[in-house]
């Protein structure tokens, strides 16, 4: 194809693959940073219950701040760089990741928790060897949402020049009256999102051989194992989506909208 789908306008200073690379960097780095921030924050929220509501509130407020507002403030310090895009995207990911991890850690049944304490497993070991592994399905459910939304949000980088990666193609489509650029941008972004999501599901499956294979049995197993923790999760959050690769468990899907 020589019609512009793969041939990038020269003002972007990137090849098609180069744009993809930049896009993935700007999308995935924030999720990684978000995860690193969320783990200790979530742990604190589990430890000190009173902390959770204000933390949730704070992440929601951050999520509500338009990225443009962030850019206006950040651009004085970090300039028209990747960093200026990565910082708000990292903060946005918290709104999904913190509750996902908190729910995941809380999904450890009281019996399992009691058994671990009774076996003389100290708090650190308990967190690393019991709570975190059991939270993996919930954490990955959160990671999937955060990743997909981050991939779509990168485009806002176009607001500060050449930092929108595939998003800049949308601008160029208008500037150069080449709708094909817009098609290329949207289709490529969508494909990236689907691929990243699939990759996460595959990693999750590899990490959790202990999950029941079929979704139905998974739900029943969770009900038995977790008492009302499962019911808690169902309320107030989006419905779990049953996908073939995912066990149908612990899908934490807050309605993630674009804050463009």
């Amino acid at each position: 194809m020589n019609n512009g789908f793969f041939n990038m306008p020269s003002d972007l200073q990137h090849s098609y693959l180069g744009l993809i690379g930049l896009h993935l960097q700007e999308a995935l780095l924030p999720v990684a940073i978000g995860l690193l921030l969320s783990l200790p924050i979530a742990q604190l929220c589990v430890r000190f219950k009173w902390l959770y509501p204000p933390v949730l509130w704070a992440t929601t407020v951050l999520y509500a701040i338009p990225s443009l507002a962030f850019f206006v403030v950040l651009i004085d310090y970090t300039g028209q760089t990747k960093t200026t895009v990565v910082i708000p995207l990292s903060l946005y990911s918290l709104v999904v990741l913190v509750p996902a991890i908190v729910d995941g850690v809380r999904s450890v049944s009281p019996e399992t928790h009691a058994a671990a304490v009774a076996m003389g497993i100290g708090p650190v070991r308990r967190y690393l060897q019991v709570e975190l592994p059991i939270a993996v399905p919930a954490i990955f459910a959160g990671l999937r949402v955060a990743t997909v939304s981050s991939i779509s949000l990168v485009s806002v980088g176009a607001l500060i020049g050449n930092q929108g990666a595939l998003g800049n193609l949308l601008q160029d489509a208008m500037t150069f009256h080449r709708p094909i650029y817009a098609v290329s941008s949207v289709v490529t972004t969508a494909v990236l999102a689907i691929l990243a999501d699939t990759a996460l599901v595959l990693v999750r499956v590899a990490l959790t051989p202990w999950l029941p294979k079929s979704g139905r049995r998974a739900l029943r197993g969770r009900d038995r194992a977790n008492g009302d923790a499962g019911a808690d999760r169902g309320a107030g959050k989006g419905p779990a989506t049953g996908e073939p690769l995912d066990g149908g468990t612990t899908d934490v899907r807050p309605t993630a909208g674009s804050t463009l």
Binding site: V117, M119, L211
Partner: protein
């Protein structure tokens, strides 16, 4: 070692919200035996149990293990010296069965191979097929998970086992099996077991000693099960024991002293003449037995004396025999089983058999009642063999 292993001395627990869950509880838990804490929901059983491994810190009194105050031991080491089994097992869902069982051994620094070997050994001990070693908890039934829970608690061979309503969440048939398995394991291992339940029948079945608690964590009575059933301390305990405690107490009396009458038995090929010499006072029937000595059923005595047993036996058609129903093993089963057999028998007489199932005699409800009275009047002079009555 002999003597008290766990001494609970005037222990109290007041929760931060002011709830007094346990109030001045004193108990000597004997070594190598099963002590049951029983009482209504909320009476402080779990709290008491968890104070022993310091999952809950006591607020008054002290607990000694082998004479040593538990407050003076490092808490995680203390906990690892006690197995803990709970309702719903609380298995680590992300670990295989073998890894679940091997958790404490691995923490104690055992090699992977040694821990694995130990897991296999324990799976066999608790009646699990070792082919399940690589499975995950979700692939097991509730009863199997509970067995894994017991195996996991036993893994590092702790001297003490704490069990909090371990079998409450499984159905009655499975529960019965688990209780028997526990008694068998205990016979082999001789742990000091503190067992919590709200089910008085379970308490009587598994307990060597039973502590009945009342709301507020006060001790109502502490006694062996037979004594508890025969002499409840007060009306509240009596009420808790239920209406048929007299009958249930018979589980603790053996049938060795019960005289059974072999005169009520005839062979299925006996002639009329042979039958006429057989008779049991007060019994209008005779028990017909096959060539192997096993009971076939009851036949009308007068008819047998006319025509011989053959007519009533298999050749004459089993329709003429009344079913003999359940038989009790003479000298092995308890008076409770014997009485039950007599109550269920169409003739009102119970059939006694030997270990091979051969009929050795018959006994009436009245004779069993007399044996019960004799056993009761003997109580206190002769020690009751609790183990044999189970």
């Amino acid at each position: 070692m002999i003597g008290a292993l766990i001494s609970i001395e005037a222990v109290s627990k007041r929760y931060p919200d002011g709830t007094v869950a346990v109030d001045g509880l004193s108990l000597e838990v004997p070594d190598r035996s099963i002590t049951v804490l029983v009482g209504p929901s909320g009476c402080g059983k779990t709290t008491t149990l968890r104070m022993i491994n310091r999952m809950i810190e006591l607020t008054g009194g002290r607990i000694l293990i082998d004479g040593e105050d538990i407050q003076h031991k490092p808490v995680n080491a203390l906990r690892r010296s006690m197995g803990y089994v709970i309702q719903n097992a609380g298995l680590f869902q992300h670990r295989t069965i073998a890894d679940n069982i091997g958790t404490v051994p691995r923490m104690l620094g055992w090699s992977k191979a040694k821990a694995r070997e130990r897991s296999m050994e324990l799976m066999e001990r608790v009646g699990l097929d070792t082919s399940m070693a690589k499975r995950y908890p979700y692939q097991l039934s509730g009863g199997q998970q509970q067995r894994v829970g017991v195996a996991r608690a036993l893994a590092a061979d702790p001297p003490v086992l704490l069990m909090d309503e371990p079998f409450s969440a499984v159905d009655p048939v499975v529960r019965r099996g688990l209780q028997e398995e526990l008694l068998r394991i205990q016979e082999e291992l001789g742990k000091t077991i503190v067992f919590v339940t709200h089910d008085i029948d379970e308490a009587i079945r598994v307990g060597d000693m039973i502590a009945v608690l009342r709301t507020g964590g006060r001790l109502a009575q502490y006694a062996p099960p037979d004594q508890l059933l025969s002499t409840p301390a007060d009306a509240a305990v009596e009420d808790f024991l239920g209406a048929d405690r007299g009958i249930r107490g018979l589980s603790f009396f053996g049938t060795d002293a019960l005289t059974v009458d072999p005169g009520g038995i005839v062979a299925s090929d006996a002639t009329a003449q042979q039958v006429s010499s057989r008779a049991t006072e007060g019994l209008g029937h005779l028990l017909v037995v096959g060539v192997d000595g096993r009971p076939l059923g009851w036949a009308d005595a007068a008819r047998l004396r006319e025509s011989g047993a053959a007519a009533a036996g298999p050749k004459g058609g089993p329709a003429q025999l009344l079913p003999h129903g359940q038989a009790f093993r003479h000298g092995e089963d308890s008076l409770r089983v014997a009485l039950d057999c007599a109550v269920l028998s169409p003739t009102g007489w119970a059939v006694a058999v030997d270990g091979e199932g051969r009929a050795v005699g018959v006994v009436s409800q009245e004779q069993i009642a007399a044996a019960i009275r004799a056993a009761h009047s003997q109580r206190g002079t002769a020690p009751v063999d609790v183990g044999a009555a189970r």
